[in-house]
């Protein structure tokens, strides 16, 4: 795999389309997306429902493959990878944060955070160390042995973020991470995400409906009808 050289972007989408169904039933979710994301960027993705932003996120997250067009991740063509190869790519480079947290029930916060490390085959002792470290980074020291049902929504999302960053990912994919949270909690979560980009250089791609949340990002991409409708730099990120 090539390393990122100066003029290459971390993520490069060129002419990406995605069609569901066939013939007259075909639904064109994406109609030709060109997009670059550089290392360390914090990008917000906005747009109404059905605008194609979720489809684009799935493709960016290597969960789905485009119908046509090329997706280069670290100069590697994701389109030619098998299902298992994409799983390995996700395992090693991508972190996911979902709107619904998607933590394992009846499993402690620490065990949830350790989950991706198990798939990486890391020893139990090292897992515990890194898991505690990640929980500390999201401000949940002391909550390691609590199960998700004992945590508030904001705390659960923090556990989910800890689970995403515990593997030191290149990119963190956040799908409406504050969709289920109140504004105070949302702000805390956004500050946490900002801190990860600034301190660790983790690239973040975040889908959101809330313009207030999008303002934390350095760049906002707006989707409409399967195309990128507008792109704007937010100038200074939240200060």
């Amino acid at each position: 795999m090539n390393t990122v050289s100066g003029n290459q972007h971390l993520i490069e989408l060129a002419g990406i389309t995605k069609v569901y169904g066939m013939g007259s039933y075909a639904m064109h979710a994406l109609r030709g997306i060109d997009l670059h994301i550089d290392k360390g960027e914090f990008v917000a993705v906005m747009g109404p429902s059905g605008s194609g932003k979720s489809t684009c996120m799935n493709i960016l997250g290597c969960l789905d493959i485009p119908t046509s067009g090329t997706y280069l991740f670290k100069s590697l063509d994701v389109g030619v990878l098998s299902r298992n190869q994409r799983a390995l790519l996700r395992r090693n480079y991508l972190g996911f944060v979902f709107q619904g947290y998607n933590l394992l029930n009846r499993t402690t916060a620490l065990e949830n955070v350790e989950l991706p490390l198990i798939y990486r085959g890391i020893s139990a002792r090292e897992r515990h160390r890194r898991g505690r470290e990640a929980l500390e980074a999201v401000g949940l020291t002391g909550w390691e042995s609590h199960s998700p049902s004992e945590l508030s929504g904001g705390q659960q999302q923090r556990v989910a973020i800890a689970r995403a960053v515990v593997i030191q990912p290149e990119v963190l994919m956040a799908d409406e991470p504050t969709g289920n949270l109140d504004s105070t909690c949302s702000q805390e979560i956004m500050e946490l995400l900002c801190a990860f980009t600034q301190e660790r250089g983790i690239t973040i791609v975040m889908v959101t409906h809330d313009p207030g949340m999008a303002r934390y990002a350095q760049r906002t991409i707006r989707f409409l009808d399967g195309l990128i409708d507008a792109e704007k730099l937010n100038g200074e990120a939240h200060s």
Partner: protein, 403 residues
């Protein structure tokens, strides 16, 4: 990785203890049923073998007639043996330990006002050796008593109990028809045969006494032969058959008019019968194991559906198809193995209790325990595979969206 997967499976099982234990109930019952049936069956086999061995497993019986040849047969028309025949066998056949000519009659035994219908057998001291039968008290016949046909008798323990109760019969006189007999010994109890016959219901007198004073002839109705240790009863049987054909002048194209019964043969016939029964019972019980396996598949399918989002999450964070498959497969195997383990414990307890109630020996068969473990694990693999495949093939996007 495999260890980690087992750990994950254990965690998943721990997360839902109630459902897990209900899931394995089918396997527990299946395995317990198989173990109980087979263990009890083995106990029955062991008991039958032991019962028949009490007849003397190195023993041959030579009887006139063609033996088990259907109704009628030629038994009644065949000539009886003579004492000479027994002597010839003892003299000419190699490797025999003892040869006892016998003749029997059904007879009333009377002592005082007590009256017991029993079987009177005339024979020699060799009979005790052939049957490996010790005296509990008293003595065997003397040479003189045998030769002169004196009125002495040795009682089986049933006859002893019926006629004398707790009294000591030694020296007492009992009456067999018109013959007054002095009791000189009491046999040890041998219990019932495998056929349910009471071996102790017998009075033994010298052969000559029976022939002269009760039967009024010189017939010998059966010759009991025991082979020496290490001598094949089969070889002895063939030798005796050859000798008897010669003595009874049977032409080469004629059938035997006597038969030699090998106890070993009877043992193997009976044990193979009980083995077949055991196998049948075990097979019926194995059906419940199959049902238990289907139960596991059912619950695993429910579990996969219920945990769709979890599977989606695992796939999203980079679990390979193979790893998800292994997780669910191992979960099924761990579940069914736990079921097997509890089933073995339950089955052995039930078998021990059953053996106690039925008065049979408890025979632990390590083979069936191993089979039960392997089989229950196999049930997990077979019935866990389909749900596990279903889980592994889920589309992560769909799975994450699943409500």
């Amino acid at each position: 990785m495999i260890w980690e997967t087992i750990l994950l499976a254990l965690l998943a099982i721990r997360r839902n203890v109630l459902r897990s234990s209900l899931t394995i109930l089918g396997i527990v019952i299946g395995v317990a049923a198989v173990i109980t049936m087979v263990t009890l069956g083995d106990g029955a086999t062991a008991q039958v073998t032991a019962d028949i061995s009490s007849l003397g497993s190195n023993m041959l019986q030579v009887r006139p007639g063609q033996g088990f040849r259907g109704p009628g047969g030629t038994r009644s028309t065949a000539n009886m043996f003579e004492v000479d025949d027994a002597e010839a066998i003892g003299r000419e056949i190699f490797g025999l330990e003892a040869v006892a000519p016998t003749a029997s009659r059904g007879q009333q035994a009377i002592y005082g006002n007590k009256n017991w219908s029993t079987s009177v057998m005339g024979t020699t001291n060799a009979y005790f050796q052939v049957r490996d039968w010790e005296l509990e008290s008293g003595r065997q016949f003397t040479e003189g008593e045998l030769r002169a046909g004196m009125a002495v008798c040795i009682l089986g323990s049933t006859v002893h109990n019926e006629l004398f109760g707790d009294q000591d019969p030694l020296g007492a006189t009992i009456r067999l028809q018109k013959l007054s007999c002095q009791v000189i010994g009491i046999l040890e109890s041998k219990g019932q045969t495998g056929f349910g016959q009471d071996q102790d219901d017998i009075v033994i007198i010298p052969l000559r006494t029976l022939q002269r004073r009760i039967a009024g002839n010189t017939d010998v109705s059966a010759i009991y032969v025991s082979a020496q240790e290490g001598i094949s009863t089969n070889a002895a049987k063939e030798d005796i058959e050859r000798l008897m054909r010669e003595r009874r002048r049977i032409a080469p194209d004629e059938d035997d008019d006597f038969h030699v019964r090998d106890m070993q043969e009877i043992v193997s016939t009976l044990t193979s019968t009980t083995r077949v029964l055991t196998a049948l019972l075990g097979a019926v019980a194995a059906v419940s194991l199959l049902v238990g396996g289907i139960g596991i598949m059912n619950i695993m399918l429910v579990s996969v559906t219920e945990r769709t989002r979890e599977i989606g999450t695992r796939l999203a964070i980079g679990a390979l198809e193979r790893e998800v498959l292994m997780q669910f497969l191992i979960e099924a195997v761990v579940l069914s193995s736990f079921g097997g383990l509890f089933g073995i414990i339950l089955g052995l307890l039930a078998a021990a209790a059953g053996a106690h109630v039925l008065g049979m020996p408890f025979v632990l068969n390590p083979g069936i325990v191993v089979i039960a473990v392997v089989f229950s694990a196999a049930v997990g693999v077979i019935f866990g595979y389909f749900p596990a495949c279903k889980a592994a093939r889920l589309d992560p996007i769909e799975a994450l969206r699943y409500e």
